[in-house]
Amino acid sequence: MTTMSFREALNAALDEEMARDAKVFLMGEEVGQYQGAYKVSQGLLDKYGEDRVVDTPITELSFAGVGIGAAMVGLRPVIEMMTFNFSILALDQIINNAAKMRLMSAGQYTVPIVFRGPNGPAHMLSAQHSQATENWYCNVPGLKVVAPSTPNDGKGLLKAAIRDDDPVIFLEAELMYNMKGEVSDAEDYVLPLGKCHVKREGTDVTLVSFSKGIHHALGAAEELAKDGVSAEVVDLRTLRPLDMEGLARSVKKTNRVVTVEEGWPYGGIGAELAYRIQHELFDYLDAPVTRVTSLDVPMPYAENLEELVLPTPRDVILAANTVLYRS
């Protein structure tokens, strides 16, 4: 295991996959000469050249479409969204083209594309730069949605996403790029898509989350442990397809669930998890499923308001207490 940052782990994944397969290329705004808006693609231009690390104009709709077209005829593009806020401009391409091309053509087209970049709120970026998009993409059959929470998972899952033959939405988080963690030294470290992972074992309550939310959950679990409450933290890793089997193992053990996400509540990831859990595991529940989300408002700029809007470990503890019927 080697200690590295989330950013470095993603960089390593891109580097390894580009070295391994000449059909893989990276395209997006500032990915080349600028070394990446968040430095995720640092050094790749020097190594692979401007044909494989491609700086684009500010033209999300069309460079998403260029990637999809290139994928349709055999290449394996990695399209960086500087942030997923800007992916909204490319939604028609991602949904109506990438997700549906296989179905419309009865399997003649494979679209092995990855759209990657930071998703969700960061710090004081205000409403238009704080959009959580994961639940929108999860709604669409034909897409896969992946959201790693650690450097190790980032590396293994990005490699898997690039090798996957379906279109993958790979959601990072700006505030995680500096986060350090232990990363596997295995020569070709690939994690499976569609499998969740227990980040912390426990018996009293299941805290299920993904991406940055995992760290709120882990923080809550630490605090709860001091009070004698044993929380199990389940990291979804892949949001679509959901690993209900893996999640069910935890729910059957603890009988209480709190979901954690940074997006808005209506139709969010927690809403889907709550439906599936109560529908499939009703008899195992000792309390209704409770979710922790952002407040249902566009993100304000003021620091104190943003802090209020965003979920914290404290909110997760309060939610855990609710399902445990503790005060």
């Binding site: 684009t56 460079f63 999809i68 077209g69 290139a70 349709m72 296989r102």
Partner: protein, 352 residues
């Protein structure tokens, strides 16, 4: 409106010379084949065998036929939803095209696509797209892949003049010029985007002039003349293949039917339609063949009969073909098929 104001009787002399006897005979066969197919599709739609949207290419045959004659086998074609002609010209058969219209599993997209989504990937026919303008970036991506792997192939990207006001058009042409991509963008300007005439939609109606804004060559062509379409496209294809530079072609044409089967076309006068019928592309080609002694009336009539027969055969084939199996509803969503077991009496809340 440009070239079609003159009531020419024949295809352009010089272009016809260059196109040649064999190719013009072939082009006529293709165009009459498309014409009879589309007419039969209209009747099948009226009798309920085809549903949803159905956009006919009647009147525009010379555009696709002429331009596709400039291509090699490895080249790519992509268009919007008025795609039956492009499909028939590029890898699809009357049978599998009609079957696709009927939603049968023997269709070129196994009944999953329908009228707007005809595909034959191995022959370089990449659809068939429903969102106006949204396939233009895909075409730009084909050009990107060609350059990336030095494949030496060219892409023809067709769209209507209604698509010219979508951002996707502007973004794509900028990239093609900037990145030197081998794509030929062809606007099939039939003057009406559904019920909205060009004059009501576009501040500039000489559409080929927009090319200047992208630093790319732009040319207006008589889209009713299959030889002119071929000639302009050949030049552009050669430029794409040898210089890696894109071109913008404005094909001035006309559709004789409504936008789709649901459109009574009240926004045009009968006189205007009659006017354009004098330059029917199929008639122009036929007259030219006869005039030059490149085909006899017997021959062209026989080809017309063959076309009608092929359309009838296609309709019979489609009618007799099965729909897709219910248990295959989860196929083609992901690389790994989703398993589904629909049963009789399944209530909605059991479906997930």
């Amino acid at each position: 409106m440009g070239e079609t104001e003159t009531k020419q009787l024949f295809c352009d002399a010089a272009a016809t010379e260059a196109f040649g006897r064999d190719r013009l005979r072939e082009a006529f066969k293709q165009m009459i084949g498309i014409r009879r197919f589309e007419e039969r599709a209209a009747r099948e739609y009226a009798s309920g065998k085809i549903s949803g949207f159905c956009h006919l290419y009647i009147g525009q045959e010379a555009v696709a036929t002429g331009s596709l004659a400039a291509l090699e086998a490895k080249d790519h074609v992509i268009t919007a939803y008025r795609d039956h002609a492009h499909a028939l010209l590029r890898g699809c058969t009357p049978r599998d095209t009609m079957a696709e219209l009927f939603g049968k599993v023997t269709g070129n997209a196994r009944g999953r696509g329908g009228s707007m989504h005809m595909f034959a990937r191995e022959h370089g026919m990449h659809g068939g797209h429903g969102i106006v303008g949204a396939h233009i970036p895909l075409a730009t991506g084909f050009g990107w892949a060609s350059r990336y792997e030095k494949r030496g192939d060219v892409t023809l990207c067709f769209f209507g003049e209604g698509a010219l006001n979508q951002g996707a058009f502007y973004e794509s042409l900028n990239l093609a010029s900037l990145w030197h991509l081998p794509v030929v963008y062809i606007v099939e300007n039939n003057r009406y985007a559904m019920g909205t005439s060009l004059e009501r939609a576009s501040a500039v109606v000489d559409l080929y002039k927009k090319a200047e804004g992208f630093g790319m060559p732009g040319v207006a062509v008589d889209g009713m003349d299959v030889t002119k379409m071929w000639q302009a496209t050949q030049e552009a294809v050669d430029r794409a293949r040898t210089e890696m530079r894109p071109t913008f072609i404005e094909a001035r044409c006309y559709r004789y039917r409504g936008h789709s089967m649901s459109d009574p076309a009240k926004y045009r006068t009968k006189e205007e339609v009659a006017d354009y019928k004098q330059v029917d592309p199929v008639l122009l080609a036929e007259r030219t063949l006869h005039d030059r002694g490149w085909a006899t009336e017997e021959e062209t009539e026989a080809w017309d009969d063959e076309a009608r027969d092929a359309a009838a055969d296609a309709a019979d084939f489609a009618d007799g073909s099965p729909q897709p199996r219910l248990e295959d509803v989860g196929e083609y969503v992901y690389r790994t098929p989703l398993q589904w077991h629909p049963t009789e009496g399944t209530t909605p809340h059991h479906r997930d």
